[in-house]
Symmetry: C2
Subunit: 441 residues, 2 copies
């Protein structure tokens, strides 16, 4: 009977339902990748599109031990509902940790723990964007490209606005997106600002000056600036982030344990002024209730004992630093030298972000060509809020993960270089004007 039920249809869905049940372009690709790489011949695929953190044995061992410890010491907690703000043990471990490491004087009232920082950002978007007494507000992404998941946060159609950061060439094959502070200050209707730093996908981290500029905008509008440190300080601290997280009456800092190796258990938290944190706690208690408790116990012990700090400094940071250098070397060797391609400067994060500054390049075409070579990369267009247009910057980029094993990275990037070479249109040999006239007929 169930199989004969009516086909999925938007009939009956609210506007929110239509918005939230939409498959984004990237989600369709992820389904394509999951389908292709499942099954008997999964090993033949080189998947450079994944968002999972690298499998690092020392990190896995640390989490295995921490969860075993939580199971032995705190198992009774699994049998009880917990507070929506988070367990007292983890709240107090977080307050102590940030006091010791960053000098922050915060209490539980400034902290909320949730099942992943994405859920906290989703809640923030519901709280601070959409229709309200002050008129309709939007979530402003002040530096796009940025994490594509942000575009799925808002339950209101058109509720997300992005400000494109212009790409600026740097020495050698590098480039960097630079915050266009004037453009970011223009929209009058942001209910909140949101950015990842270091950024997924680009690896860009805000400079102290850029961070100050964004804070000035948030202050002027008196809205929260949510800064997503999923790849930054204090963990997993991938890359040479310049601007450490700051405490400020208009800043909410989001942290995640996912890229420090525990994505499957869904623990993230936010630290900020009580007036922004309290409504998030209420929303949690109305929806998901609270984050899982054993994982909270494991994280509390990992923060208190210094185990997470040790893993960051001895395993996670060195791993990604090495992978990044390798990816740079491999791209230099694999990409055709006469193509104008550039790599975003290394300021942190788990990805290499490549820009092919050529009119003929199309990110989705590259995706398809590489799929035929059994390689998956992530086309760049989904990370921009602008509509994709051929020949424009937003269709000229792609993302490669640094978290796969070295052999896959080597062979994958080799095939990327081949595919880009083949995508390049053939050079037309010098020809007479007659020929030109003939071919143009």
């Amino acid at each position: 009977m169930m199989r004969a039920a009516k086909a999925p249809s938007p009939a009956g869905l609210s506007y929110v339902g239509e918005q939230m049940s939409r498959m984004s372009g990237l989600r369709r690709l992820m389904d394509d990748i999951a389908t292709s790489t499942a099954g008997d011949r999964a090993d033949e695929w080189l998947n450079l599109s994944i968002g999972n953190p690298a499998s690092i044995p020392a990190v896995e061992t640390m989490w295995r031990d921490l969860i075993r410890h939580a199971h032995a010491e705190s198992f009774a907690e699994a049998g009880q509902y917990g507070p929506s703000r988070g367990t007292p043990a983890l709240l107090s471990a977080i307050a102590d940790y940030f006091r010791d490491r960053l000098g922050w004087m915060i209490g539980s009232e400034n902290i909320v723990i949730g099942p992943g920082s994405q859920m906290l950002c989703f809640i923030a978007a519901a709280l601070y964007a959409g229709p309200g007494r002050a008129g309709p507000r939007r979530v402003l992404l002040p530096m796009t490209p940025d994490y594509t998941g942000y575009q799925g946060l808002c339950t209101i159609a058109g509720g997300i606005a992005g400000v494109e950061s212009p790409p600026v060439a740097e020495e050698g094959r590098l480039f960097r997106y630079v915050l266009d502070l004037d453009a970011a200050a223009l929209p009058a209707d942001p209910g909140m600002l949101l950015l990842s730093s270091p950024c997924n996908p680009t690896g860009r981290a805000v400079t102290p000056a850029e961070q100050d500029g964004l804070i000035r905008i948030a202050e002027r509008l008196d809205v929260p600036l949510f800064v997503d440190h999923a790849y930054g300080q204090p963990f997993p601290q991938i890359g040479p982030t310049q601007a450490p997280p700051v405490l400020h009456p208009n800043v909410v800092n989001c942290f995640s344990l996912s890229k420090a190796g525990l994505p499957g258990e869904r623990i993230g938290f936010a630290i900020g002024p009580e007036r922004f944190i309290t409504p998030i706690v209420s929303f949690l208690s109305n929806s998901v209730l609270h984050a899982p408790r054993l994982a909270q116990a494991a994280v509390a012990e990992g923060l208190r004992s210094g185990a997470i700090d040790d893993a960051v400094s001895t395993a996670i940071r060195p791993f990604y630093a090495e992978r990044r250098l390798l990816a740079e070397k491999l791209l230099l060797s694999a990409m055709p030298p006469d193509v104008d391609w550039r790599l975003h400067a290394n300021e942190g994060g788990m990805f290499a972000w490549v820009w092919v500054n050529e009119g003929w390049f199309d990110d989705l075409a590259l995706y398809r060509q590489l799929k035929e070579r059994q390689v998956f990369i992530t086309p760049g267009r989904s990370f921009f809020t602008a509509a994709p247009r051929p020949g424009q910057h937003c269709t000229q980029c792609f993302r490669i993960t640094l978290s796969v094993d070295e052999a896959s990275l080597r062979e994958g990037i080799r095939r990327v270089g081949l595919a880009v070479s083949q995508a390049r249109p053939p050079r037309t040999p010098p020809s007479s004007s007659d020929d030109c006239e003939e071919t143009s007929r």
Copy 2:
């Protein structure tokens, strides 16, 4: 600096934000209870208001073993993001389990696993209620009183409507709420129907005829009927539920592992037609991503091995059956015999629901009087959608949990009886008409 931040204020919140950051009356009480029962003298309190399942050693041992097993066998999953629909292992365990136990022929397309069934109901309310192409729709609770958490689900003010079930006296001290099918069929704007069966707080379970009546309404409107089996079949199966869950093109069945002993780890799932399940999966992937993976692995093993079924039949059902009989006996002995009080018939669930059918009785006054005696019960008004009015049914009920230890239940109910006796106004002795005239001046 953080402590000096501005006081919490609705300024800047969207309408959704104002709605979702509101503290319900019950939440304020829960804070009161948490504050009172925390600290050094916590043991002196008898808390009959808790929503946690009972601590049953055999059940705790089962989950402890299942999670240890998941840690040993599936730990690598914690280091990877998972599918938003749920892990393949748990999806397939659920499909097999419901095929074997209830004969349901379902596949993964009919199932979604989430971090608790409350989150799934929250998502359903966002998908199927609120403004939409067909006009504004509401969540209809066709049998109130019902779970107070449902009233926090809807992000839209006024988005929840309830139909009061009339209380009908049964033999002895019992009564039962009866579905008013005509009243439930009247509202033209439901986007979905939602009820718990067995019900928190009342213990009422729908009869097969009531269930059929609700399905007819859902069919006519072509909206989903969400049935929350958190206390019912197949687990934890507390009480003699008459109507087993049914597969139907308009029914979505929600199940939870919380009352089977694992509330802290947040695992629930829904089974229904693909057209209603698919949008829930998309919403999950835009918000909380997925349920925690180790707990999913533990539940999969618990379903496959029969361990959960064993715990239900040998530990959970007998425990609550015994507690229910004890509570009935204690109430009969403690409550003043000349007060018209009644207990809801035992059809399942984890609570005793008492109705004091007297004009002078007030649930909130009883809460306060019992707090002075270091006992907490849950006043009944929050479970009704109607505004509380003195002397009406909705302020004449209270809830007692069956999940505390026996000594607390004994002493707690004894004090409940004393408090009700003292709340009863003194009988006026027969007096002359002169006296009456004097006092009335």
